[in-house]
Assembly symmetry: C2
Homo-oligomer: 349 residues x 2
């Protein structure tokens, strides 16, 4: 390497196979990390300016802004990794605002000693996920913490999306009679993570559902479906989304357990692990509260978007005890759902 | 506590003096953390919607977007804490784009076992810093990592600011002849942090310069100063900013060491610690590249903004070897500045 020594780049990155504290120090090594890892993966005109921030044209009157940090363990799992999650999770939060995701920031907290190859795999996943979701990573930051003080790699992404509708999508718009739809079968992400973590045998058959939700949401809006509220079913699963929306809307949600799509492998894994699939996290599933008259058409759109995932209408909202979620079980009994008090599955995203 | 048991809040937060994994689980405890810590500190109409993201009106054609993670150790230091830093650091990155900071996101990565009182102190600092800088925290996220896998508390903030000028502020606008100004004396933040970390005697006399830079930047722009580039002097200090801008502009920066304002206590501490103050991080200082004819007027504005901090013109840009930073020392010799290859002070912000 010494023979083609470049004065603008005195410390080639390949001399350091792992992350050093100096990679976060604002000096030459941080500069090299940017030049040799982040810019090649994410490069675009806004990021390439390499200013303290990205300046963009706001060509719409309303924008959505959101953030999430990602601390999933393990970093790689069937169906994705922390990089796909960091892009899709934030993209999906924007989609849940009825916004078209356009710009992401990426903040990396690296642990000293992290193999640079791991970082490269993760940035490559982020690049691919961003391209698939139609977003650009336009600004970023890297910090390095001492060995033993992180857990390899944490990522924060914040996102900006253009609101392309005139309504208010949120719990305050939910009305009695609204149908509750889900875009597919539940529980894959949580079970896939737990399977790897515990080294379980069904590991290979269950993949995370991690995926961008831009397209189904935009298709619903484009078709004029009266979408009142959207929630992605991440931490806390379907149950948390139902409870939070019912509480915020001051209405009761009535759900048919038999209508909730759960695949046989996930159902079996949950029984074995003692998990309730209604509380297990998803990363490519959402619930939509839509006007009752639009429900059938909305379901058709969701089915065309993802024919294999079994979208379904699982229930409806009604007046009554605000914040209640009433589940009619397969046996005809009713059960009230509440938020989990403990923690089923830590570090799931 | 049991006698006034509230069904909407079955697990009062005060029963848990420290952060549990379940505080990041999407269930009732996370809900309580939001209700009892974050909303009281940050509450505003956008955040209170508690949707997956905040929808705002983009009442200007151009916006700036930026992010930073904060991993400073210790969490509290003379002149600030991780919370003031997390607000001012991102606010300042927006100001360096010539943008008025308006909205912040806040992503918390908490270590299991963190005292909730520590989290409350930090959120209170963030609240006060946001109010002082004129920004609102409009969306957020909390994750909890296992005991031993974090370092108490990491914070990411992303920020949005309205661009209130028509120009391009960045290295590409820098011209030969541009004056280089700094808004005050250098090195306080890095020395203050190191003093606490090492338990040094001058600890009490040197406070971090952590402060929002919105007002001086907006005043320069309002006065019609031809501001070509702005850089806050954080990691890597003045030297890194000079090198990066000189490299990106393809020009040489010529700087008079004697003109660089450094207080006697900081100079003494740096000598004792073997630090070069030109490379030490600041959190309330920036360099401005302005048209030569505007330099005196710009300096007047900076002095009126902060009379006690000794703003100064430290040099000028010229054609020549692109990317060179030539420092004329007090003795009349010249020295080339480059980015640091190692790491003077890890975990400084």
């Amino acid at each position: 390497m010494k023979s083609d020594f470049n004065p603008a780049c005195p410390v080639p990155l390949q001399q350091y196979p792992t992350v050093l504290l100096a990679h976060g120090g604002g000096g030459r090594l941080m500069h090299n990390l940017l030049e040799q890892v982040f810019l090649p993966a994410f490069g675009n005109p806004l990021l390439n300016c390499r200013h303290d921030g990205a300046v963009f044209e706001a060509d719409a009157p309303r924008w959505a802004f959101t953030t999430d940090s990602y601390v999933v363990r393990p970093l790689f799992f069937p169906g994705g990794d922390i990089g796909t999650l960091a892009v899709n999770g934030t993209v999906n939060d924007l989609a849940m605002c009825g916004a078209r995701p356009l710009y992401l920031s990426a903040g990396f907290i690296l642990e000293e000693g992290l193999p640079l190859d791991t970082l490269r795999r993760v940035t490559e996943s982020m690049r691919a996920a961003a391209a698939a979701a139609g977003v650009q990573i336009v600004t970023g930051d890297t910090k390095v913490v001492d060995r033993g003080k992180g857990d390899g790699l944490y990522i924060n992404t914040a996102g900006l999306g253009r609101v392309e509708h005139d309504g208010t999508i949120g719990p305050s718009s939910v009305r009695p009679g609204d149908a509750i739809l889900v875009n597919g079968d539940l529980g894959r992400h949580g079970v896939a993570i737990l399977a790897v973590r515990e080294g379980l045998a069904f590991e290979s058959s269950i993949r995370s559902d991690c995926a961008p939700l831009v397209s189904p949401v935009m298709e619903l809006l484009k078709a004029g479906i009266r979408v009142h509220c959207l929630r992605d079913l991440t931490r806390g699963g379907l149950a948390a989304a139902l409870v939070e929306v019912a509480e915020a809307a001051g209405l009761t949600a009535r759900v048919e357990e038999a209508a909730v799509p759960i695949s046989e492998p996930v159902r079996g894994a949950c029984e074995m692990l003692g998990l309730d699939p209604l509380y297990v996290a998803n990363e490519g599933r959402f619930a939509a509260w839509v006007a009752a008259e639009d429900a059938a058409r909305a379901l058709d759109i969701l089915r065309r978007q993802a024919p294999a995932t079994a979208p379904a209408c699982i229930g409806a909202m009604e007046t009554g005890h605000g914040g209640q979620v009433v589940l009619r079980t397969a046996l005809g009994a009713t059960r009230l759902l509440d938020l989990f008090s403990g923690e089923q599955l830590p570090r799931i995203c």
